[in-house]
């Protein structure tokens, strides 16, 4: 955008437009809500880091808008058996430093994810025992046991390949200048200000990418982020809060993409995390069931999120291939909830301390629940803290209930295993249910979707009865864009895939 007559006399005569780009292709400016962490696909953890990496560090596989896995640097795959995956690579592809993308590079990258100090990918690759080179363009992944979920891990950061040459040269500092295979390459990063990517010539899928440069800018304040979009200083705002969604919809120069995510927000219950002794809320499922019946999920999303998010009592969103639409969404039933409380024989009001992250939306959700459950005899005591403090309390098991979200994984296993499997690091519930563990293991042992869904149905039913996590809603993504941006195909993981995206002529 060219800024017209500046405010001050000093600046009156100055042309303030950015210098015209030398390249023929336009540049794209994208804003997200926070700065990325280290730009290394092995050690990076933040969502925004993955957004910035996605178009410069391709994975073996990726996801399409139906959340189906599709090959990228891989050409095809085949399960030799339930614990052996054979992947064929796309020929004639190079990393952005010229190093060929071959089986040796796959072995190097995957082993780097497994062994690098501070790797955040070790858990994703937990079931992998060996990567074998079959021929220069074929690799075989050997797993500890049957695990079809492993394939989905190769579609996220654990499947990203790094240039072995660049990685060896940079060592621990690879994240300061990452070199991967992708339609864009890393140009520069100024912490808290921008990450700039530049298009590479002759990439195998390069014709599908229509911008010469991509600039990602962290803009923390949502109002300011939107003001930047409205002023034309950015083209895409990747995080429009539900409260501002209407402003984007009403602006003729902007458009809003609202689409399902893959995560959830729920009330996590302490049932013995870190060997703590839970109170009645953690031990008596009737009290949790009464709580569950006392809340109205639809009302929560309507009041707090203007109906943008989706009320949901299950760990996967309605658009996930792992969602079971035949299972009922619970309705608020105060009479039944009161009966359950009476059966549990607890003294009313029954106090439930609830740990809440101190952001306005989380506090509002808790306050709405507070008034709803009061009718049944609960006294919800809100204990608001900053996120890291809630995390610390949850880790120690120093909480009763905690409203928190999970960003989600493409496979249902990723929304359950880390959170509820016995002994998992992020099982903040302290849930120990051998039957649940067995079912979860069964579900990953076959690629047959019908068999898997039958198992997940049992799991969901079990979780609805036991309520270790009282799932509240599935968050949706809100991307605001200038109307000139065309060709964006939303994918539930909330990434910004730029293939096919361009400016209208």
């Amino acid at each position: 955008m060219t800024y017209r007559t500046p405010l001050l006399g000093l600046l009156a005569a100055l042309p303030l437009a950015l210098p015209a780009a030398a390249q023929e292709l336009p540049q794209l400016r994208v804003a997200f809500s926070e700065d990325a962490d280290v730009m290394d696909p092995t050690t990076g953890r933040a969502y925004v880091q993955r957004v910035a990496l996605l178009n410069m560090c391709e994975s073996l596989f990726d996801y399409n808008s139906k959340m189906q896995i599709v090959p990228r640097l891989a050409l095809s795959y085949e399960w030799a058996d339930a614990q052996t995956l054979v992947v064929k690579l796309r020929p004639n592809v190079s990393f952005n430093d010229g190093t060929p993308v071959d089986a040796a590079a796959v072995k190097y990258s995957i082993e780097r994810h497994q062994t690098f100090t501070g790797s955040a990918r070790r858990g994703d690759l937990g079931s992998l025992t060996a990567v074998e080179i079959v021929d220069p363009l074929t690799v075989r992944f050997k797993l500890k046991g049957p695990d079809v979920v492993f394939l989905s891990q190769l579609g996220v950061r654990a499947g990203v390949l790094v240039s072995p040459t660049a990685s060896e040269a940079a060592g621990k500092d690879f994240g300061q200048r990452p070199v991967c295979a992708g339609p864009y390459r890393f140009l520069e990063r100024v912490a808290q200000d921008r990450i700039v990517l530049e298009k590479v010539p002759n990439y195998w899928d390069g014709a599908n990418y229509h911008f010469s440069r991509i600039t990602f800018r962290p803009i923390a304040d949502s109002t300011v982020r939107l003001a930047n979009l409205r002023a034309g200083a950015i083209d895409i705002n990747m995080s429009v809060p539900p409260t501002l969604a209407d402003e984007v919809r009403k602006d003729p120069k902007l458009k809003l993409y609202t689409f399902d995510g893959i995560g959830y927000t729920g009330l996590t219950v302490n049932m013995g995390r870190n060997n703590t002794t839970p109170g009645p809320f953690g031990t008596d499922k009737r009290i949790r069931q009464a709580f569950d019946l006392a809340i109205d999920r639809e009302a929560i999303v309507n009041v707090v999120f203007n109906g943008v998010h989706a009320a949901n009592a299950y760990p996967v969103p309605a658009t996930s291939p792992f969602f079971d639409a035949t299972l009922p969404q619970p309705k608020r039933d105060v009479a039944r909830a009161k009966a359950l409380m009476a059966a549990a024989g607890v003294k009313l009001p029954f106090v439930v301390p609830l740990t809440v992250i101190n952001n306005p939306e989380a506090v509002q959700v808790a306050e709405v629940m507070q008034s709803m459950v009061a009718e049944v005899g609960f006294e919800l005591k809100l204990n608001t803290m900053e996120f890291v403090s809630t995390l610390n309390a949850a880790d120690k098991g120093d909480y009763v209930g905690w409203t928190v979200g999970w960003t989600g994984r493409p496979d249902a296993d990723g929304n359950l295993r880390d959170l509820l499997y016995t002994g998992a690091g992020t099982n903040y519930v302290g849930y120990k249910n051998p039957e649940f563990d067995t079912l979860l293991d069964q579900a990953r042992s076959t690629a047959d979707m019908a068999v898997r869904m039958a198992t997940y149905r049992k799991i969901y039913t079990m979780l609805r009865d036991d309520l270790p996590i009282i799932y509240l809603y599935s968050p949706r993504w809100n991307f605001g864009m200038a109307t000139k941006v065309e060709g964006f195909d939303p994918v539930a993981d909330g990434m910004l895939r730029l293939g096919g995206v361009k400016f209208a002529r």
Binding site: M1, Y3, R4, P6, L7, L10, L11, L14, P15, L16, L18, P19, E34, D35, A36, D37, V38, M39, D40, R45, A46, T117, G118, S119, A120, R122, G123, D124, K172, D173, G175, Q176, V190, A191, Q192, D193, R217, P218, I219, A220, D221, T223, V224, A227, N228, R230, A231, G232, A233, E386, V388, S389, L391, N392, D395, W406, T407, D418, G425, T426
Partner: protein
């Protein structure tokens, strides 16, 4: 004077040492294990242990402090745990940004605050006095955050005159740099100008009643000369001290303004670092800010002596 300055300079070292101990200890009081934050969502216990070992979080606090301060004395402020960049490098990138913003804000504050203070004192109890006081009061009571957002909406979104956020270094394109920093500088300078205006007014009122001003007038000097050369020069002594302190405050107080305008300076860096428990960045930034603050006070002392000749013999 040399002795006085020597003593002030010698006080700098223990002050900074105390600051380093305080920032290190206060930070430990913050709830939340940095390893939990750094590990992201998948907090594998083995990874957590590895992180704690690598960052020496498993060592006693005294060891951690001496390890850090030992490196600081060798010019190494450590590296950011979150983005894995040397803190020295981050400080070197951010300090000029904040200094530019603070200097511009200070200049704006001086150019608005001091003349308004003088006008208000000279035209005491007139319309101009009330107007200046009104503007000063409004400046003091308007929150930076609100003013920033309002300016963005008005100047950038509706009028399209200036970019709403971002930063371009002076060395890269000075015009674009001014365009990106003039609004945040005005927001920052606005509140300071009100403080300066109030102090200048009060100092001028005192100065205008002094004998030397009456003498100057009796000598037949023009009112302009009396006000500017005799009254203002003397009134400026406390104003300069205040100005130096306010400039220091600007360096550390630009947090909200930098957040609103997405200026990648110290303020934005420290906010991100605190929320992410990026201790080396917090420690580094606080230490550098404290050093600059202490140095500014030293400069104020020198200026004080230069403006007030009576102190030269002290």
């Amino acid at each position: 004077m040399r002795g006085h300055l020597g003593v002030r300079f010698a006080q700098v070292i223990p002050t900074l040492l105390l600051v380093s101990i305080m920032v290190f200890c206060l930070q430990q009081l913050m709830p939340g294990d940095p390893a939990l934050v750094l590990a992201g969502e998948e907090r594998d216990p083995e990874v957590l242990e590895q992180i704690r070992r690598e960052l020496k979080l498993d060592q006693p606090l005294v060891f951690q402090y001496f390890y850090w301060i030992g490196n600081v004395l060798q010019g190494d402020l450590g590296f950011s745990w979150r983005i894995r960049q040397p803190v020295t490098e981050l400080v070197a990138t951010k300090l000029p940004v904040t200094l530019q913003l603070a200097s511009m804000a200070f200049i704006i504050a001086v150019f608005i605050g001091v003349p308004m203070g003088v006008l208000s004192a000279v035209k005491k109890n007139t319309f101009w006095d009330y107007l200046a006081n009104g503007i000063g009061l409004a400046g003091l009571s308007t929150p930076n955050f609100w003013l920033g957002i309002m300016l963005i909406l008005l100047v950038s979104v509706h009028l399209g005159w200036l970019p709403p956020s971002g930063y371009v270094p002076l060395t890269e394109d000075w015009r674009q740099s001014l365009a990106t920093t003039i609004m945040p500088a005005f927001v920052l300078g606005n509140a300071i100008s009100a403080v300066l205006m109030r102090h200048t007014r009060s100092a001028m009122l005192t100065a205008l009643q002094q004998d030397y001003v009456r003498t100057a007038r009796a000598k037949g000097l023009s009112e302009h000369l009396v006000v500017i050369k005799h009254a203002l020069r003397n009134a400026l002594v406390p104003v300069v001290t205040l100005g130096a302190l306010e400039l220091g405050t600007l360096l550390s107080g630009a947090v909200l303004t930098e957040q609103v305008f997405s200026i990648p300076g110290f303020g934005k860096m420290i906010v991100d670092a605190v929320f992410n428990r990026d201790y080396p960045v917090v420690q580094g930034v606080v230490l550098v800010t404290a050093t600059v603050y202490v140095m500014l006070n030293l400069v104020a002392d020198v200026l004080y002596v230069m403006i007030n000749p009576r102190l030269r013999g002290a």
